[in-house]
Symmetry: C2
Subunit: 668 residues, 2 copies
Amino acid sequence: MPPSGRILKRLLVGRAMRSDRLGETLLPKKLALPIFASDALSSVAYAPDEILLTLGLAGGSLAMLHSWKIGLCVVFVMLVVVASYRQNVHAYPSGGGDYEVATTNLGPRAGLTVASALLVDYVLTVAVSISSGVQNAAAAIPFIRGHEAVLAVAIVAVLTAMNLRGVRESGKTFAVPVYLFMTSVIGMALVGLFRELTGNLPDAESASLQLRPETGFESLGGLALVFLLLRAFSSGCAALTGVEAISNGVPAFKKPKSRNAATTLLMMGLIAVTMLMSMIVLATWTGIKYAEDPQTQLLRDGRPVGASYVQDTIMGQVAKAVFQGFHPGVVFVSIVAGLILILAANTAFNGFPVLGSILAKDGYLPRQLHTRGDRLAFSNGILILAGAAAFLIVLYNAEVTKLIQLYIVGVFVSFTLSQTGMIRHWNRHLRVERDPAARRRMQRSRVINAIGATMSGTVLVVVLLTKFVHGAGYAIAAMVVLFFLMLGIHRHYQRVRDELRVSEDDVSAQLLPSRVHAIVLVSKIHKPTLRALAYARATRPSILEAITVNVEPDETRALQEEWDRRGIPVALKALDSPYREITRPVVDYVKSIRSGHPRDVVVVYIPEYVLGRWYEQLLHNQSALRLKGRLLFTPGVMVASVPWQLESSEGQEERLDGPSVGSVRLGK
Amino acid sequence: MPPSGRILKRLLVGRAMRSDRLGETLLPKKLALPIFASDALSSVAYAPDEILLTLGLAGGSLAMLHSWKIGLCVVFVMLVVVASYRQNVHAYPSGGGDYEVATTNLGPRAGLTVASALLVDYVLTVAVSISSGVQNAAAAIPFIRGHEAVLAVAIVAVLTAMNLRGVRESGKTFAVPVYLFMTSVIGMALVGLFRELTGNLPDAESASLQLRPETGFESLGGLALVFLLLRAFSSGCAALTGVEAISNGVPAFKKPKSRNAATTLLMMGLIAVTMLMSMIVLATWTGIKYAEDPQTQLLRDGRPVGASYVQDTIMGQVAKAVFQGFHPGVVFVSIVAGLILILAANTAFNGFPVLGSILAKDGYLPRQLHTRGDRLAFSNGILILAGAAAFLIVLYNAEVTKLIQLYIVGVFVSFTLSQTGMIRHWNRHLRVERDPAARRRMQRSRVINAIGATMSGTVLVVVLLTKFVHGAGYAIAAMVVLFFLMLGIHRHYQRVRDELRVSEDDVSAQLLPSRVHAIVLVSKIHKPTLRALAYARATRPSILEAITVNVEPDETRALQEEWDRRGIPVALKALDSPYREITRPVVDYVKSIRSGHPRDVVVVYIPEYVLGRWYEQLLHNQSALRLKGRLLFTPGVMVASVPWQLESSEGQEERLDGPSVGSVRLGK
């Protein structure tokens, strides 16, 4: 890396950290809450909208009548899931979370299913949250309209850079807005409650409008109505995404890790349901009309409001009603809501790399994902997450309503399998536990987890039924692909390990080759060649010869004459090359040596000169690299590169960290 | 390359050829004419159009009045240039052509200027000819309109594939259409002449139209008129492009090379001027009205013909008039004209790689351009030419009238310098030549070349004056960039050569290192590691040690225990790595050894396992490649790769010809 690149990297990701400073990056509860809970909390900015919008398909009265009931259902599921996960956090403090629970109790296939689901879901969390944040911002800043996808991708890039700096600094950066968001939403709920009780809560702007049902939803029969209610409930369950983040992130907590994590989880659940219900109730009290297609569904005096109507989000409309007469309050809520949505994506930036690293350690993902980067963060995982999320954002043009259809499935797949695994976990422990108090605690946990499993499974079925054709199918497809990909990777690592293993009593592997046959490749007589010859002679091989490839006979003859004139004390042999190739004659010659003496080892010395600048390398043939590559496939051969450093290479070693380093001229 | 890829390559470029078959690909005159002359001949399909179109800016009567005079001027220049080049071909049979002539007589800078000009011009030849061919075809096949650029790029691709198959097969493929083109144009001229003499040559369709001058050209004053005539003459000089192709291609001729080339050149010149004048005279006789902007310039009964009017090319209109009553003749001429234009590009496909190869041999272009490919053709040059031409086609959307403005400049730069060089050539030879007959021949040649130089220089000035702002400026800019690029490349090669040179009396370069210090890198104990140890021990180094990098202390301890348990007879040393790096600790350790004993050589043995499939390599850390790259920058170090071939690598060596071969796991 050139100095400027190094400085840029330092500015973006900060100073490298030593391994023994790893302990310092652990999180106290007050930082863990904003980091791991921002996803779950932020969904209050879009989950009520999705419930109202879905119900609104069948008209305004239906939404008014049922929205709070649907809200209560979501709250109930949320509380059950939180209670269940508190059992997980205590039982598995190592932070494998759902993946570890499913693997341990239901086997590796179940674990891999959970992992696939979670990986897909993390990507969607980033895509949905940031898209929603940008769409919120677009309502306030019209300039953004038409550039949502570009802005969203830019925000992904900024988040990526921040996370590459390391976990704790992210926590500090994000704590303030998350706490401001909680304060502002709950504050708004209290003000709204006070104004309703004192009888002066104003109506929302949209309360005076009529909400017309969409075509086909005018008068729903019993079954169709139930299906619509279930669809609204599914959408509302977006509020539950992110609950599992804490159980996956237990190792990042300060000690006592499990207890701190469980407490944080409970706090988060209570705050989330309070905020969700506040929004739904306030939306009902202020009479908000919210439509999927506002231009045609909303009527003013019997006529559609048309394209000029801008539909604010539920949170925006509630704020305008509650803070009527106090405009700064409205502005504050909208700014904080916009921020929290973008920051929610950060949950995934914490969860995804940890899970990726665990999967890599278990051999299901490439080893590079287990490499800790400069700042102890899992750099590769962060980059993959960012890339996939950016891809989805571009693909769906940052439209939340489309992206949300793919969402949720993954979470409930992992909830269900994890809770089922927990039942088995307690069964196993109950078999050996004798202490009555402990047994009672375990039985209680088992009941909670059983309820959680049943509940999650039911919701999963509902989500699949109501959302499959709207996009959930794609999410399922992505999970299946990931599942088989990870299985394939695992098989590959297993095969390589088996092939390379040496049993402890196997002595043949340590047998020495009988002779060393050294070959020095010569293209012309210059310093690199002479150095390679000197080094080769210094190793005192059994046989030493110099080889050149006869591509142009005149040049070969000139080389031979100079060789003799200089009196170089090694014989020079010319290999014929009728097809003007360099690689094949050398490889064939090496093979012929080996076939005569299979217990010999052939060492091929390649003189190379090392150039400092990448564009200089374009000017030299890559014959050496190609030859080295081919010789690696030839058994019983060792390739020794003898580098000669040109002046331009000095101080350039930092910059060149790739395989394209070093260039050599052979033959012509 | 996988088998399917190999079969595809074989199909596209044919079987590889042995060097000793190079003689077989030489060209007899009857094949050389179509190959090298198609460019010059094909311009008859657009040069008359450009003359008439430019004159037509000032109205129809001016075009009628002056076109044949301008045609005669172009013919005169053509004949002078042909006569001059016949001297070149005899004086320089080695085929360096203009580049060699200018370098030898005017110095390397002049040669480089010529080379830049020719390279740019070859690219433009491909772009202009193919674009013109596609635009011709579009007149016949309306479906093509709107897709001209795509089709033109596709044709470039096909030509590229054909030329990668080798020179002679190209000649055979292209000979038939070139001869058909000559026959049809000259046949058409004869029929036209006969009908004119017998008084029954019909008028062209456009003869009944009026040609209105463009705004600003209504009544030109003396100087403006002269400028317009010069502009028309410049455009007409497009007919001269390609004349130099033969002199650059002398080595491809059968013996006697020079005489055959000179004869071919003369034949080409005579055929070209005959065809050019035939077209211009027939266009005048049939009263063709040809406009740059036909929709508004052409009037029928005083009103513009409008967008529905399709203006056929001059050749098309002439054919319709001459062959009135014999439609197959019209169709035949238009098909053959379309074909010849596309094939003209082939001239450049023969000239560019040869020139690139000569420049590469002289160290002005990357060495890869001097490598003969599978079919004895200069594959890299062919590919670069095709890429640059495709770029221009896309940039100018295959519009001939725009591309032609960039054209011609390069040719006349090279004409002028080459002819000036020839004067010096004869001066030099006359100084030593004593034979009176030879002296007379030389003096005659000198006069011819002097006339050629003056003429070319004048035309160059005219072209620059009349075309600079219309696009010739870009061509000049491209030449300047190429000039300095090639100069820079030359300096680089010179610097490297100076740095690597060993004087014959320098014995220090052959001094042996005092001791060999061998290091085997160990990440875990498996077959590759044990093989590397065995090979290292077989070379009996002065010092041998095994090294591991301590990234995770637990694993290092386990490794150390297994090492001791197996009783491996080499000491294992662990290097600390607080920042979890692999590369830096090893490089630092190697440097510390060297600093204590600067006359030692350090050999680093790296156990590698070789994977067969590219996607498998993604699954393994690239630590070994990175480490090798870094060690190459460290003086006094030799890197020995000890490969272990996994089963999946068998039979894969053909496919992997890049630097990314082989992958190793170090450390973790």
